[in-house]
Symmetry: C2
Subunit: 294 residues, 2 copies
């Protein structure tokens, strides 16, 4: 049984990106530039954005943080999105979600120039991924695919069961795991709240990607010997063992499931560290204009 | 066992559309206008486009057919697409596929204003469908959903196995059948050429949507009693029984599978007649600006 070390892979990828940026700069190229729009002072969002800015430093990117109070109007936000769309120095940018309720997230995301949409949330990027055209793939699916690939986990012809049908994990993972490519070429089953016998579906799976947000949902009796388990769940549960008063729990009961697996991602330290690195990879692609030429 | 009569449903829908158009005109509204671009003289394409023009007449739509020889340059075609994008009288338009090899289909499709993309092939419409936003759904998936809905076939919590992962049937059907809605809310499995045991997957299905293009692939031993079978296959096979010298074969061995089913679509006369009607429904939506306001 191998525990997939997302933290180590993420560190390795950041090193690779930093090295490539050095070479780009040495060859007289432009330093990739990621901008982030942060609205309000939500604790989680502050933490994520700070980590993204930090990762930009490590990768040798330029970063710009644009802050708004949560009283910002939708129009002001859309104006800023348009300004960033037109700013030739900005290669890619993100709008940190969630946004205050008086602002339509869909509208803001669709206002982003898809060629700078390094979060991969614009319908054009979602659609191009489904069709199989070059695009920005969003952070979590991108990170999972990279982990599978770096660990050389066989996927072709395997039965992959995905738990959850969210727009940010379940649906894109289904599209990626069924595509005619590696990683991919799986027989994909998507389960969700309406699925009649999730345990039975799981027992037949070679690969389980759990993204329900339901702590310790997947138990040992639901897992076939030798299965690959990717745990995307990150639910905060109260804990007396940590300073913060909580700890992160995955969707998988790690202690009892791990011994049965061939590969498993822990929580934390599995998929989590890969998400910010995926954003960095997309920003590098944007800087190099590899997905969209102009 | 009920044989789903796609032809009758299609006729019924055309009547409903024609009635609605009459009311729109009576209320002083604009007659929906569909334009079609046809390149070259491929027999299949000629037939399809003629049928679409005919259906426009029946529905009371205005239609415009724009023809090019297959020597047309990509640029000329793109110019025409832009002209139709800007023509306020044209509510929706399609470019009949396939295109000659020297023209990029992806480029042409992406040049279409997604608000007029009544074929639903533009990445924005594909992406919006995946995300669950209002959009034009392409003809075949749209027709299948309509058949399921008109026959009140229960889908919630059912196991739906989709055979094939094409961009025009398999992938969009997976997205639609797994969405949180009716028809939908299925546990969806997508099978394809790399699937290890398609027969076993099929035997566990409450609903099978067969879109492999492999005549009579699905046999009685692969089907559970009471299953719902949607046959999307239409392969021309030689026949001495028809004037044309060929007949259409579905992906399902109808004679032996039908007796086991609760519902089944025949070939021809099942899904086929619904596709053009789906295009008509999208054109009506475009005329009424129901999906995109401006």
């Amino acid at each position: 049984m191998t525990i997939i070390d997302g933290k180590a892979v993420a560190e390795q990828i950041k090193k690779e990106i930093a090295e490539e940026v050095k070479q780009i700069i040495a060859a007289g190229g432009k330093r990739p530039h990621l901008a982030a729009i942060l609205v309000g002072h939500d604790g989680g969002s502050e933490t994520y954005v700070a980590a993204k800015v930090k990762a930009c430093e490590v990768c040798g990117f330029k970063s710009t943080l644009v802050r708004f109070e949560d009283t910002v109007s939708e129009q002001e936000l859309l104006d800023k999105v348009r300004e960033l769309n037109e700013d030739d120095d900005v290669d890619g940018f993100i709008v940190q979600l969630p946004l205050p309720k008086h602002i339509s997230e869909d509208k803001v995301i669709e206002a982003i120039d898809y060629r700078k949409d390094v979060d991969g949330f614009h319908p054009i990027n979602v659609g191009r991924m489904s069709i199989g055209l070059p695009c920005y793939i969003s952070a979590t699916p991108n990170g999972i695919i990279e982990l599978i690939s770096r660990y050389n986990i066989e996927t072709r012809g395997k039965k992959c069961v995905i738990l959850g049908r969210s727009n940010i994990v379940g649906k894109p993972m289904a599209a990626l795991m069924m595509r005619k490519a590696y990683p991919g070429d799986c027989t994909v089953t998507v389960c969700h709240s309406r699925t009649k016998d999730i345990a039975d579906e799981c027992r037949r799976a070679d690969i389980i990607i759990a993204a329900l947000g339901s702590p310790e949902f997947v138990t040992a009796d639901m897992v076939k010997d030798g299965a690959v388990i990717i745990d995307v769940g990150t639910t905060r549960v109260p804990s007396t063992l940590t300073k913060s008063g909580f700890k992160l729990k995955g969707d998988v009961k790690f202690d009892e499931v791990a011994p049965k697996c061939s590969y498993i991602t822990p929580v934390p330290g599995g998929v989590g560290p890969m998400t910010i690195v995926s954003l960095m990879r997309n920003t590098l692609l944007a800087g190099k204009k590899e997905i969209y030429k102009d």
